[in-house]
Amino acid sequence: MSFGRAAGRSAIAIFGGYAAMNAFVGLFGALLPKIGMAQSEALVLAAMLAFPLYTALIVWVFGVRDWGRASVILFTATAAALALAATIN
């Protein structure tokens, strides 16, 4: 793997994954209170799930052959989660 490609993959994995994790926490933390969970409880639960999710996302971005497609999926999911969270709020 060339340095440039490795750096690109790392950036997608680290920053793309971080954005996706935060979007997930935002969505989860906005959604659960609507169905009766306390806000703090929802966010704590989201946080506990978020870091294993982030780990999986990083491993996934490094593991797939076509990481261009992976980054598109990652950004689409992030945008969708953010949009949904905004709608719920």
């Binding site: 793997m1 490795a6 954005a19 994790m21 935060n22 979007a23 997930f24 926490v25 935002g26 969505l27 989860f28 933390g29 906005a30 306390a38 806000q39 703090s40 409880e41 929802a42 966010l43 704590v44 639960l45 989201a46 946080a47 506990m48 978020a50 870091f51 294993p52 982030y54 780990t55 999986a56 990083i58 491993v59 490094f62 593991g63 052959r65 953010l82 969270a85 905004a86 709020n89």
Partner: protein
């Protein structure tokens, strides 16, 4: 596809490992020592080597604090003596904004004049989670980044094994050195795998609200304050200006503990008391159980009292999900009363250190075996590895030794005793990198010899300056000091034996490539990138 996935996991493991290992080792090393931070405190502050007090009263401690403090006391943060720390301690704030701390011997009812040192709880423990870089919380973010890297390294590390069960049982110390280093890496990684995962995850989760500001902001629609108030409820009252004496804090503590024990159906204690507006009509007393001795879970209860009347203002119990989070952080902080588990945590931490160190060693050896493609790259990684592994250990031991060497009132260049100790640590640590860069692979042996010498020196100095040698500490049941001396002696012997072995046998950084490739040695080839 499967092969591709495995090789990319190999690349990820190799390169993420090399880049992050130096910092990761520092975190693991300091975290491992933090398991015994209170014991290190007792070793480095000999005045606190008192026996467990037969009784303890907050009311007595409050009047002692008022006596010692420079001005009228406004706020008090008081930690009761525990099974690990016979000394009670207080942080105080006065109405004219002066801050200070007091160590208190409950039996003698006196404030102790304690050697100035950051020791275990003030230096080693915060190093573990912040690298002592407070600016913009940069240190916390760096540690969080390393924690995430650890989880990624563990996951990718599992994927590159073909014979994961076999690797549990394969250790060939007498085979070529490269092989035994890899075996050691696999064994320490696999046997303690659940520990490594859980300790990394729980460590990250302790600071989750710092690491996830965007997510919290999205979920709360840009208004996170209510969330934080819900998460950490606190009763704050304005200073009224009407002086009123405090009611008995001991009674309040007893009341809180009775209520908590009744709620759980089993004895449930507190561990500290926080008072605001001392001597004022608006005084509040908060009794908390951040780290209860009888439970893994931290911060379950909190009870707040009115200072003047002793009436309960608020009684808090953590909700269900937060309690599972608090279990994870309680697991990570490891403050509960269980010595066998404490030692297992220590061993688990050490196994993490060995895993990281052998990972680095294997990287170097694999490059050398391949014909040292880029001697400069190998040299750089070696220098970094030696400084970050043997260097930080030597620096820590120098920190211990210099603590016993400096006179009690030592001060130099405007630095007090505690600052001098820390400066010693950092000077030795930085020097170890320089030494490694100059000496090449011989630096492994040199620095291991320094470790052996410093560990013995620390034990000797402790004896000379305090009179507490092994027999004395064993006789008096001073197990913290006895234990630390024993670990130091054990470390010195192990380091000494390593030096002898490095001298006698083939250096583990063999320069001659081994001719035969063992069939079980698959990961070796696969962990290296296909360049």
């Amino acid at each position: 596809m499967r092969e591709t996935f495995r090789t990319s996991m190999g690349d990820l493991h190799t390169w993420a490992g090399v880049i992050i290992s130096a910092m990761l080792f520092a975190i693991f090393w300091m975290g491992t020592l933090s398991v015994f931070d209170a014991e290190i405190d007792q070793w480095m502050k000999p005045e606190t080597r008192i026996s467990e007090p037969s009784s303890f009263s907050y009311d007595a401690l409050i009047s002692k604090s008022a006596e010692v403090a420079d001005g009228d006391v406004k706020g008090l943060y008081m930690m009761a003596p525990s099974f690990r720390t016979p000394v009670a301690s207080v942080y105080y704030e006065t109405y004219n904004e002066k801050y200070g701390s007091i160590y208190y011997d409950a039996d003698a009812d006196e404030a102790l004049d304690v050697t100035k040192s950051e020791a275990g709880t003030g230096f080693i423990f915060p190093f573990h989670f912040s690298f002592h870089v407070r600016w913009a919380s940069l240190g916390y973010w760096a540690v969080g980044f390393c924690g995430m890297a650890m989880m990624v390294l563990l996951t990718s590390g599992i994927f590159i094994h073909r014979k994961i069960i076999a690797d549990f049982f394969v250790f060939r110390p007498q085979k070529n050195a490269r092989r035994s280093v890899l075996d050691m890496h696999n064994i320490t990684g696999l046997i303690a795998l659940p520990f490594h995962f859980l300790i990394s995850l729980s460590g990250i989760l302790i600071f989750f609200s710092m690491y996830l500001p965007l997510g919290v902001s999205v979920a709360t629609d840009g208004e996170p304050d209510a969330f934080y108030e819900e998460l950490y409820p606190e009763i704050e009252r304005e200073h009224s200006g009407t002086p009123r004496p405090l009611a008995s804090v001991d009674d309040m503590v007893a009341q809180a503990e009775t209520a908590w024990s009744a709620a759980l159906g089993t004895p449930s204690g507190h561990d500290r008391v926080i008072i605001d507006n001392v001597g004022d009509a608006a005084a509040t007393i908060q009794v908390v159980d951040y780290f209860p001795s009888r439970r893994v879970e931290s911060s379950r209860f909190s009870m707040t009292f009115d200072g003047a009347t002793g009436a309960v203002l608020d009684s808090y119990e953590a909700p269900t999900v937060l309690r599972s989070m608090n279990w994870l952080s309680g697991f990570h902080f490891m403050q509960f009363d269980h010595w066998p588990l404490r030692w297992l945590f220590f061993i688990g931490g050490l196994s993490g250190c060995v895993m990281i160190a052998t990972g680095l060693m294997f990287w170097i050896q694999a490059r050398i075996k391949k014909g040292a493609l880029d001697p400069l790259k190998v040299r750089a990684v070696r220098g970094m590895s030696i400084g970050s592994v043997t260097g930080i250990i030597a620096a820590t031991l120098a920190f211990f030794a210099v603590n016993r060497l400096l006179p009690k009132e030592a001060a130099l260049f405007g630095m007090d005793r505690a600052a001098l100790e820390m400066a010693t640590f950092f000077i030795i640590w930085v020097a170890s990198f320089g030494h490694a860069a100059l000496r090449g692979k011989a630096a492994w042996k040199d620095q291991t010899a320094v470790i052996a010498a410093l560990a013995f020196l620390a034990v000797g100095l402790n004896w000379l300056t305090t009179g507490d040698h092994l027999i004395a500490t064993a006789q008096h049941g001073l197990w913290s000091v006895f234990g630390m001396d024993m670990v130091l002696i054990f470390s010195a012997i192990t380091a000494g034996a390593s030096v002898v072995r490095l001298q006698k046998t083939e250096h583990f950084e063999a320069t001659t490539p081994s001719r035969r490739r063992s069939r079980t040695a698959i990961t070796a080839a696969e962990a290296t990138p296909a360049e």
